[in-house]
């Protein structure tokens, strides 16, 4: 497979997070675009590609956004891939840049949130959901992930205290990241354990808070980034898998497990060489699974790993979900599929503020999502390295 040499990721943008908003989705995407331009010094006419992920954009689409934003791009991509959207966006954008189909691609995720929106989304997420998911308790993803989590806990002897370690560390990170909706509140293990039950074994702090917000970054050539004097990140490896391990009776691993060997091969490094890790934390058990799948720890040993290692941004072991992840920042629909990626670019370009990981050069980012019936179908992962400015 061809590598991703010569491609730069720059200008990480995360903004406008709110529990609820009366704004429509194009507003969130447009505000991200505004910051991408302001942060890069580019004009709208310089951006000739747009890649957009959103759950709430309808009836608008990525092409109606072109008219709304008065742009005439020659390359467009829509990404209905939930938690894998960000990594899939840059994969497509990187190839477009390498092939000359586009020079500068704005990759963005944006979603609004109004009371009732989330119920509307989950009640008819897909035909399988309509027939075989929602009628069974109408709990949305909480129901499916309660089942997956319970099975994972039983299989590997994992306790709620193990999940608490992940959630408490992430909240600590969020306490140092100004964009996190829950960043103003601390979280102790005791508070985690005594939280109200949502779908046992899941309790309040295992479930993300749906919210509004936008995330984005620019993809261009490293040459262009250098000319613009932009700090950038290079793609050392990218991989993706869909509907992986479909014969597994219940999800015990994600497609990341299938991606991992080639990922490290492409990057020419091993899991020990990674400075920071961002997993897709829609539920703690899924982050534990991704840590195992990506060989950050051995299979079934993520809980033990979390017991033994410090994962806060300022810890000496392996900083994980350095902005607090969705569990503390909020889940802004499909923009959540950009959260870990955008945060990794911020970290590797030393543009993080209160939560900067000192000396981080290499980041591993994992995306996961799209529950159709009983498991997430999308997996993507990437390894990124600080570019030479």
């Amino acid at each position: 497979m061809q590598d991703y040499r010569g491609v730069a990721l720059c200008t990480p943008v995360s903004r406008d997070y709110a529990r609820y908003s009366t704004r429509a989705t194009p507003w969130f995407v447009g505000r991200v675009l505004r910051d991408l331009l302001a942060g890069s010094g580019l004009k709208k006419s310089d951006v000739d590609g747009l890649a957009v992920a959103s759950f709430s954009l309808a009836p608008d689409t990525v092409v109606t956004l072109c008219e709304y934003f008065a742009m005439e791009p020659r390359w467009l991509e829509a990404l209905p891939f939930g938690g894998a959207s960000g990594l899939l966006a840059i994969q497509k954008a990187a190839r477009a840049v390498q092939c000359g189909d586009a020079e500068v691609v704005a990759c963005m995720g944006g979603d609004t949130s109004a009371p009732g929106n989330f119920r509307e989304l989950v009640s008819d997420f897909s035909t399988f959901t309509r027939d075989a998911g929602y009628p069974y308790g109408a709990a949305g993803p909480n129901g499916v992930f309660a089942l997956i989590t319970q099975h994972y806990m039983d299989k590997h002897g994992v306790s709620r205290s193990d999940f608490a370690r992940l959630c408490v560390a992430q909240r600590y990170n969020a306490n140092h990241y100004s964009g996190a909706l829950l960043g103003h509140k601390t979280l102790s293990e005791e508070e985690y354990l005594s939280a109200p039950e949502i779908a046992s074994p899941l309790h309040l702090f295992d479930c993300v808070m749906p919210c509004a917000g936008g995330e984005g970054l620019l993809v261009m050539s490293t040459e262009r980034a250098r000319n613009l004097n932009l700090a950038y990140v290079e793609i050392a490896a990218l991989g993706q898998m869909f509907n992986a391990y479909s014969s597994d009776a219940i999800q015990t691993r994600t497609g990341a497990a299938a991606i991992a060997p080639d990922l490290y091969n492409q990057a020419g490094i091993g899991p020990r060489d990674v400075d920071i890790v961002q997993t897709y934390d829609d539920y703690p058990a899924m982050s534990l699974m991704q840590l195992e799948d990506l060989k950050i720890c051995s299979a079934g040993k993520a809980a033990q790993f979390l017991r033994e290692r410090v994962t806060t941004y300022d810890g000496e072991d392996i900083p994980h979900n350095t902005s607090g992840g969705q569990l503390s920042v909020g889940q802004a629909g499909a923009a959540a599929g950009f959260l870990g990626l955008v945060e990794a670019v911020r970290q590797l370009t030393e543009q993080a503020a209160g939560n900067q990981v000192l000396g981080a050069k290499t980041a591993l980012v994992s995306g996961y999502g799209m529950v159709n019936y009983d498991r997430g179908l999308c997996s993507a992962a990437g390894i990124f390295k600080s570019g030479k400015a």
Binding site: T127, P135, G137, A138, A146, L147, D154, K155, S247, I250
Partner: protein, 163 residues
């Protein structure tokens, strides 16, 4: 009590309600005999379109059991904790089912001793067919409704859980 459980289904999904007598019937491909779930219009394996609802082995292995404390629908919220399980059939399909209280407290961690359950189809309060996991001893029993299958007292003015 307000409302009904979700009634929105695809055409094929609504056919689950037509499979009477509580017997577990799922779509089976006429061409390659693959058992299919959730309901669909063509066979995932061979992509042929002729599928028939046929009886399948209703004995499955319990993989996970949870208690919902919250729901997006009032009908469930008023009846929490609501029990859900994942059951794996021999035919290689996994079923998310409503569950009878007596099977959910069994530990699933001891994989050397898999827990067997029986899956039935019942009509819920909205008239839709739904899957219900019950103890194996319930195999062959008949239930007029989901509530009956779950073992709830069904009386006209029962304040809590009757229809």
């Amino acid at each position: 009590m307000s409302g009904l459980p979700p009634t929105n289904r695809t055409q094929q999904g609504s056919e689950l309600a037509l499979q009477s007598d509580n017997e577990l019937m799922l779509q089976v491909c006429d061409h390659c005999n693959t058992v299919l779930y959730p309901p669909r219009e063509l066979c995932s394996r061979c992509l042929e379109e002729n599928l028939s609802w046929r009886p399948v082995n209703a004995r499955g292995t319990l993989l996970a059991h949870v208690e919902l404390a919250r729901s997006f629908e009032d009908w469930f919220s008023e009846r929490t904790p609501w029990l859900l399980v994942t059951v794996r059939l021999q035919e290689g399909v996994s079923l998310i089912c409503h569950a009878h209280a007596s099977i959910t407290r069994v530990q699933t961690s001891d994989s050397s001793k898999p827990v067997s359950v029986h899956v039935s189809i019942c009509k819920d309060a909205g008239g839709s067919g739904v899957l219900v996991a019950m103890p194996e001893s319930a195999a062959g029993e008949k239930f007029a409704s989901l509530e009956a299958a779950l073992g709830w007292p069904v009386a006209e003015d029962f304040g809590g859980r009757a229809v």
